[in-house]
């Protein structure tokens, strides 16, 4: 292999990119815009669930009960109502996702120590939020009940008993359960997958369409020289994108980076070689820019978005899909980035994923070389 030929190829490709504002835009502006959009829009946190309350009791006890809800950051009061049709209307119009209904004998039942049912109506059309909101409500009600019990004991002069078992949850790696903290690292992986494949998907096909490839294949240039030469500029752009994304994660989204930055870049480099080679392979096989870019988009975006586990947990997928995820390189990069970002783990823990990524990179690069023929047809 001749470094001279690789150099000539790379230099030429750099000039193409810098002279074409569209390719620069696609290489740098689009990934950053995607990161901004998805980073802000894709939040899986549930807080400030809008609620309406029908307080039939209108007593001191019911008002205290309500204040427990309003005091938490999980619910926000949209207003009071006083009949079921109004409850229905609020939920239909999406003014409220939950509605709390307190029966008229609420205060009396509590005073006499009887079981006191309270109704929570939840909009199940958003099942994810409904489940979480229901969970929050349960916790609030349990805490309220416990308070009541304690007061009862104290009044009857007893020693306040402690709960036999008490759960003290500690959330590691993402103490505030900020969904952004685990979405951003995964998002970087997904975006890099799509952009990298798209970038190279045009490069070989364009030369076939413009007729310059016919000239190139009549020269002594070798397939790996051509492919490596073409990869170099896009690899540079890809690494620059990763750098920008890490900076955005640090300063814009304030995602804690607990692991090694060097490790992130090392893994990104391996991942990029694989994904850029995949795009190149598509370009080599199709010889057509339009077809190649569409194929690259379909082959990367859907699997990377849905099957990489970046937002949708792989463990809750049907077994067949779970198996398919092993073929999605973005999955390994997502695990790597989340591990390095949130857990701060090093290469030893992430060895398997690192190996998978390297194998993917090697296979794609070799395939691209094998598929590139210095012959017409």
């Amino acid at each position: 292999m001749s470094p001279r030929r690789i150099g000539a190829m790379a230099r030429k490709e750099f000039i193409h990119i810098f002279r074409d504002p569209r390719s620069l835009g696609m290489g740098i502006a689009i990934p950053m815009i995607m990161l901004l959009l998805f980073g802000y829009a894709l939040t899986l946190d549930v807080d400030k669930v809008p609620m309406v309350i029908w307080d039939q009791s209108r007593s001191q006890a019911s008002r205290e009960f309500i204040s427990h809800f309003l005091g938490s950051r999980y619910f926000s009061l949209q207003g009071y109502v006083d009949k079921y049709p109004e409850v229905e209307k609020s939920i239909d119009s999406r003014r409220a996702l939950v509605s709390l209904v307190i029966p008229s004998d609420f205060a009396g039942r509590i005073a006499s120590g009887r079981k006191t049912p309270v109704q929570l109506i939840v909009d199940g059309s958003d099942s994810n939020t409904a489940t979480i909101a229901g969970g929050y409500a349960e916790v609030i009600v349990a805490a309220f009940s416990q308070d009541l019990l304690l007061q009862e004991f104290r009044r009857s002069g007893g020693v306040s008993p402690s709960n036999p078992v008490e759960l003290r949850p500690r959330v590691w790696f993402n103490a505030d359960l900020e969904s952004r903290n685990y979405i951003i690292p995964g998002l970087i992986a997904v975006i890099m997958m799509v952009i990298a494949a798209l970038l190279t998907s045009l490069t070989v096909a364009r030369e076939w369409e413009q007729g310059t490839m016919e000239q190139l294949i009549s020269t002594p240039v070798k397939a790996p020289e051509l492919i490596i030469g073409k990869l170099i500029p896009y690899f540079t752009i890809g690494m620059f994108d990763v750098f920008l994304a890490v900076m955005m994660g640090e300063f814009l989204f304030q995602v804690p980076l607990r692991g090694s930055v060097a490790l992130i870049f090392a893994q990104a480099a391996i991942f990029l070689i694989g994904t850029l080679s995949l795009g190149m392979l598509i370009s080599i096989v199709t010889k057509n820019q339009l077809l190649a870019s569409q194929l690259a988009m379909v082959a990367t975006f859907l699997p990377a978005f849905l099957l990489s586990g970046f937002a949708y947990p792989i463990r809750s997928m049907p077994p067949v899909l779970q198996w398919i995820t092993y073929l999605v390189p973005a999955k390994y990069f997502v695990i790597l980035l989340k591990g390095i970002y949130l857990k701060g783990v090093g290469p030893r823990v992430l060895l398997v994923e690192g190996i998978f990524l390297s194998v993917f990179g090697l296979v794609m690069f070799v395939l691209a070389n094998l598929k590139f023929k210095k012959r017409l047809i």
């Binding site: 230099r11 413009q210 240039v221």
Partner: protein, 324 residues
């Protein structure tokens, strides 16, 4: 360079290339001597480009054998590529690169030695007359410049054999003339040139020509030999007034093979010049034409080509009839 002394530049035996059921090149055999300007003449779609692509090692033949610069066209295609310069039909330059950037790129691809790089680059710029336009984007160059730059890029590495596929199509006449001067210059230095064209006048510039029609080589020889030996019929040149109308009249005479307008006069292809000279003259005079002269002439390449093609078409028709 790498060619052994005495070897032919190109040798082809029964070369064949099929695309599905279509036979693009049909059992073609020929040889090209070193230092020769060999022209491949034929209409569009005759198989010229297919042949040249096979010889450059970028298209595999379906059958037959051949060598270029002593290397086998099937097994040693990559070796061929180091010893040839190829200029494809579309001048394959990068339009968004400047003149110099295009030269630099190919100079890298051909791994021109560091100490020779500058000299070769200057040579191309001088040869193409692009001194003032080194930093111009190639897209903005006129056809003639693009053509000479493409030639320069294809022969930066001073290959002993150059393949040119319709190098002058879409180029103005002055640039065409200038291009042929360049080809002669290269040829005088011992470079072998294989050029395809569908311009008859360009074919005359070649040392030897092969006529290719529907994938078959139907004639081969020097332009002189083709004109004198390959045509069985004679050509009469008639100069008279109202040639357009006269042509229609002459066509009606039995025994006349073909009449075509040619310059100021008409060219009529006939079985025997001596008999038809008088018949045509009489016919024209009877119909009130003023006849300035009717003479037997050496046929032009076009006459030869047309006559050979017609003979071939007739033979094929007859064969088809028989088969029915």
């Amino acid at each position: 360079m790498a060619m052994a002394e005495g070897e032919k530049a190109v040798v082809v035996r029964d070369l064949e290339r099929r695309f599905g059921s279509f036979v693009a090149v049909n059992r073609v055999s020929f040889e090209v001597e070193k230092g020769e300007i060999f022209g491949f003449l034929g209409p569009n779609g005759a198989g010229k480009s297919t042949t040249i692509r096979i010889l450059c090692g970028i298209l595999a033949p379906s059958g037959g054998t051949g060598t270029v610069a002593g290397f086998d066209i099937v097994r040693e295609a990559e070796k061929i590529k180091a010893h040839i310069g190829y200029m494809s039909q579309k001048f394959s330059l990068y339009e968004d690169l400047t003149v110099e950037e295009n030269i630099n790129f190919y100079s890298g691809i051909y791994s021109i030695a560091e100490e020779k790089k500058k000299e070769r680059k200057e040579w191309v710029i001088q040869m193409a007359g692009l001194g003032e336009r080194r930093s111009t984007r190639t897209a903005l160059l006129a056809g003639g410049w693009k053509q000479r730059l493409a030639l320069g890029c294809a022969i930066l590495h001073e290959p002993p054999i150059i393949f040119l596929d319709e190098p002058t199509s879409g180029v103005d006449p002055i640039s065409r003339r200038r291009f042929w001067d360049l080809i002669y210059e290269l040829s005088s230095k011992g470079v072998t040139i294989f050029v395809t064209t569908h311009y008859m006048d360009e074919a005359e510039y070649c040392d030897r020509i092969g006529l290719i029609y529907r994938g078959e080589l139907i004639a081969l020889g020097t332009p002189e030999a083709l004109k004198t030996e390959w045509m069985r019929e004679d050509v009469l040149e008639c100069v008279c007034d109202r040639p357009q109308e006269a042509m229609e009249l002459i066509e009606t005479i039995p025994g006349i093979k073909e009449v075509a307008l040619f310059g100021k006069g008409l060219h009529a292809v006939v079985e025997k010049a001596e008999t038809f000279q008088e018949i045509i003259r009489q016919h024209l005079l009877d119909n009130g034409y003023r006849v300035i002269g009717i003479e037997k002439i050496v046929p032009s390449l076009e006459d030869v080509f047309v006559s050979l093609i017609e003979a071939r078409d007739k033979a094929e028709q007859a064969q088809a009839e028989v088969r029915k």
